[in-house]
């Protein structure tokens, strides 16, 4: 999900704008983005990770759920990244486990962003009592320890992919809502919105066709952060044993091998590196979009 959003935002205008219009702002944004080495690196890294999780299991061909070798044997001693406490291949586990981690991370990020957008846009557009009520609601979710709330929900409603996605989505949207609200308030006071209102545009049209497009850039950047956070969140939940016990994920592998940490560093180190690199790639892309949309901030540091 994360990878498609910035691509849509930046790639579409390239096809639309011929070389005669070099000053199209979107085109310039894309240029700055691609010139930014760390952003391009993040994009490549994310591409590699997606490729590895989609095609990796078929190419590598080892069953991640089967005991294939001596338990806790180190990397290079029969298997590339070693085996876990019941002799399952760590590399196979990482390749397959990435699917759950990435899907849960992406879907729950979309849910987070949608809830945040809806709450924030209503609060920012209607102001007054609607705003006050919605912001109290948002504050409630912002101050609660989100991981703990998600833990409680998953425990009570039994761990499954659906519950986990729902729990992550429901606890993390406050920041997006605040951001959307601020942007809506700023843009709603601009001339072109007043003009559209004077021309008789309805509220729904004003919100989603007039104001929303203008408020998207900072939200896209925040969405990258949210996606990274959702992946970390999923990892945390499955580390605590609140993932779907029948489906391997990176956090689950770490959690299951937690007790063998001192004797078999590879069992927790390798899946952790996978999580780290994925979130790092997304953060780099997010930073790149931010710099590209906001060149002034980039120069200042």
């Amino acid at each position: 999900m994360m990878s498609s959003e910035p691509m849509q935002a930046t790639a579409a205008p390239v096809e639309a704008a011929p070389a005669a219009k070099p000053d199209h702002p979107m085109r310039e944004t894309l240029k700055i983005f691609l010139k930014n080495r760390s952003a391009a690196g993040g994009l490549i890294l994310l591409g590699l990770i997606l490729f590895a999780t989609i095609f990796g299991p078929a190419i590598y061909g080892v069953d991640p759920y089967e005991m294939v070798w001596m338990p806790l044997s180190p990397p290079g001693d029969g298997t590339p990244l070693g085996t876990d406490y019941i002799g399952r291949d760590i590399l196979a586990g990482i390749l397959v486990g990435g699917r759950v981690t990435l899907i849960v991370g992406a879907v729950s990020a979309v849910m987070t962003i949608v809830i945040g957008l809806v709450v924030g846009s209503f609060a920012g557009f209607f102001g007054g009592r609607v705003d006050a009520a919605l912001m109290k609601f948002t504050e409630f979710f912002q101050v609660l320890p989100s991981l703990l709330l998600a833990m409680v929900m998953v425990t009570i409603f039994s761990p499954s992919l659906g519950t986990i996605i729902f729990a992550i989505g429901i606890v993390g949207w406050a920041q997006i809502a605040r951001l959307t609200r601020a942007e809506f308030m700023r843009i709603a006071s601009l001339e072109y919105v007043k003009a559209a209102r004077a021309a008789g545009a309805r509220d729904g049209y004003l919100m989603f066709r007039v104001i929303l497009p203008g408020s998207l850039p900072p939200i896209v950047v925040a969405s990258a952060l949210v996606t990274g956070a959702s992946i970390l969140f999923e990892a945390g939940l499955s580390f605590l044993g609140l993932g779907d016990p029948n489906q391997l994920s990176w956090g689950l592998i770490i959690g299951q091998n937690q007790n063998y940490l001192m004797d078999a560093w590879w069992t927790v180190t390798c899946p952790g590196i996978a999580i780290f690199l994925t979130v790092l790639a997304i953060s780099l892309i997010g930073d790149g979009i931010n710099d590209a949309l906001n060149p002034r901030a980039r120069k200042r540091g």
Partner: protein
């Protein structure tokens, strides 16, 4: 409304905080209501079965034969009198269990916060002096790592490095098995505290150093800083005295907003380091499906977060003179 406006802002904040805690209580109630099976079935399950009579008696005792709103009233009354239920697994009232575990969590959270604010602010302010210098790039790299690595994994890596490869810190817990007496007792706890604190602080060092840098760069560009420099103040005094005071404001705001997340991080860190606080208790109660304890922790942490928020609000007014009058 008129009377509300007359109240002092501080008192209004207390009222708001109380309202939010009440909202958490209601949320807890709803979660229990929505959970598959009623609480009595859960309790009976925990006790390992019970007779029909006992079940009926429990139902009556918990008011489950009453309408939902009435039940909510009973629940609110219980919570307000400090009755958070009974943990059948630990065989203790939940409140006692929580109170036992609070000091460890507060110690861990506060020391992590202290380290994070201190290191983060210094790193950020330092790198703000030369936005394109090497220091600035190091801050960027460190903050990227802090953002991107799972906190429990950082803890495990520190354990492997500093408790196994180079064993200078203890592996787990808060105290050695043989408790030393006197001053050594506190040193022992401090020794155990180092790795969990660094782990938990890592995320926030990443966060605050970035925040401090951005805000310091902005503050250093303002007129009053130019004035301070023009009148010949030494650069160190300009940065650490004049600029930092304003540069700190966004950090204090953020600290206030993030107490909840800090606590959430503590759950993971305490699990990794076997730190005997509320977070570890949360993990244990998940393993046992001990709902009363889990819900009690949620409520308790909300109260802790509210108290912390109130304290930040006070700190905020102290740092920013404009807020002393203006804030509603």
């Amino acid at each position: 409304m008129q009377t509300l406006r007359k109240l002092t802002p501080a008192f209004k904040r207390v009222l708001e905080a109380f309202g939010l805690v009440m909202a958490v209580v209601i949320l807890n109630f709803l979660l229990i209501q929505m959970a598959p099976g009623d609480p009595v079935e859960v309790i009976v399950g925990e006790m390992g079965g019970a007779s029909e009579e006992l079940i009926a008696q429990l139902r009556q005792q918990y008011g489950l034969d009453q309408p939902v709103l009435h039940q909510l009233g009973i629940y609110l009354g219980k919570v307000l009198t400090g009755d958070l239920g009974y943990s059948y697994y630990f065989n203790t009232p939940v409140l006692d269990l929580l109170l036992q575990r609070v000091p460890a969590t507060v110690l861990l959270c506060l020391s992590a916060l202290f380290v994070a604010v201190l290191v983060g602010t210094f790193a950020g302010a330092f790198s703000a002096r030369k936005p394109d210098g090497a220091g600035s790039h190091i801050v960027t790299v460190i903050s990227l790592v802090g953002y991107s690595a799972p906190v429990f994994w950082i803890g495990m890596m520190l354990l492997i490095l500093f408790a196994s490869v180079w064993p200078i810190f203890p592996v787990a817990g808060m105290q050695s098995l043989r408790k030393p007496s006197g001053f050594a007792y506190y040193l022992d706890i401090l020794h155990h505290l180092v790795l969990p604190t660094i782990t938990l602080a890592m995320i926030y060092i990443a966060y605050y150093s970035r925040l401090a840098r951005t805000s310091m760069i902005e503050v250093l560009g303002q007129d009053y800083i130019r004035t301070a420099r023009a009148k010949g103040l030494p650069e160190n005094k300009v940065i650490w005295k004049h600029a930092l005071r304003n540069g700190l404001i966004p950090i204090v705001t953020m600290v206030g907003l993030q107490f909840g997340q800090l606590f959430a991080g503590a759950v993971l860190v305490e699990t990794v380091f076997n730190w005997p606080g509320l977070g570890r208790l949360a993990y244990e109660s998940i393993l046992r499906r001990d709902y009363p304890t889990l819900l009690g922790i949620l409520l308790f942490s909300a109260v802790l977060v509210m108290i912390a928020n109130l304290l930040t609000d006070i700190a905020y007014r102290r740092i920013d003179p404009r807020m002393r009058k203006a804030r509603t």
